[in-house]
Symmetry: C3
Subunit: 172 residues, 3 copies
Amino acid sequence: MTAYFKDFVISTVADRPSYHNVTEQVEQAIDKSKIKNGICLVQTAHTTCSVYFDEYMHDSNYYGDDYLHVDINHVLDKIVPRQSTENYPYLSPGPKHIAYGMKKNDPAYPAVEWTMLNTDGHIRADLLGNSVTLGIKDGKLMRGSVGSIFFVDFDQTRKRDRTVSVVIQGDE
Amino acid sequence: MTAYFKDFVISTVADRPSYHNVTEQVEQAIDKSKIKNGICLVQTAHTTCSVYFDEYMHDSNYYGDDYLHVDINHVLDKIVPRQSTENYPYLSPGPKHIAYGMKKNDPAYPAVEWTMLNTDGHIRADLLGNSVTLGIKDGKLMRGSVGSIFFVDFDQTRKRDRTVSVVIQGDE
Amino acid sequence: MTAYFKDFVISTVADRPSYHNVTEQVEQAIDKSKIKNGICLVQTAHTTCSVYFDEYMHDSNYYGDDYLHVDINHVLDKIVPRQSTENYPYLSPGPKHIAYGMKKNDPAYPAVEWTMLNTDGHIRADLLGNSVTLGIKDGKLMRGSVGSIFFVDFDQTRKRDRTVSVVIQGDE
């Protein structure tokens, strides 16, 4: 039994949650791993992002968003409304966290206060979870006839490059 | 270290979410696997279904539903209301998905448009997740003194046979 | 490939959800396990508790609670309100479960009816889930630059000692 690792990068959109079907990349990783029986963990370490399991629904709106993703957004908009400013409707991020963020020096993402107003993204990601684990049997991902694995970035403040990691553990 | 697989089938009810305590089947699979130390993944590949971890609560209503499951339904009814017709309160399923579904030819489940009005089931399943992973130590599932594993089908449109899969990975 | 197990105990507070950053304990367990490549499951078997993945946010309120945890509480207070008495706003626990609980004989937690009025805790724990699974690569937990693992007890009725379990599976 061995472990195989594969990361891939997703380019997200701004101003709305950014959903991406990553099933094909996951299945390519399983093929490359040569692991035939075991488990497949698909995770993200970004704290405003989720990996979850659902179906591809064929129809999309004018923005190119799958109808089901738009429906998920409408449900989450009601229970975890988008953060409109500091101090409303969330306490976080507070002054210490803003100061911490302003000191970060990532040339790809210049530090600006409003980019940290993503508390809705954190809480939505907590609800959907940051990983999916599925079995691998006889070299096939156990996802049924219509199941797919989706990555979503709930941070709507800006577009970014995000990483999804696949960890495969089992026997060749 | 090795991987052991066991599927079992659950017959669901229609017109309300269908909850099933599957702990006994999972523990029987662990016994059969002879695996003593490792992890146990309990998953479903059905995209309107969840597997989650909670307690058996002893009392049930006139329908035979555990009080806690009725309480979960009441919470979810408010935030993810049942789909009453196409186009309300969800965009999904749209015309392309309906056309896709009508072409399916599963003799057990004849294609009818209204059977695809289950968007509430998809979103509820996203919130509760499609799997539970627990450790196995000295041959025992690490579920504490009262923890149980539940399968639930949130698709209320019709009764069906659904599959739950157990994947056990570890050492004998 | 081998499996390594480590439990640790968390002392919770009463009268509000009790959040605890357990990342350091998890990483100490990984170091002790000597496992370099594989997966790390962090789970709780308590049915009103969750383990979830998010960021430490630096600011805290007068109670010492991280702003983001207070924000999560406010979201959950609306959708899963705190149980105020038997029969409202939840059916559970019913008379059979109360009778079952009153027969328990745990000297650390004397049986009293009101301590079982924690249905909000059960449902909140279902939404956030009872475990986090992350990869371990080259001896490092794959949690990104700011990701942390949190344990939360949503049972607000009394303070208690709770157990978190780490299961690590992989190769040295």
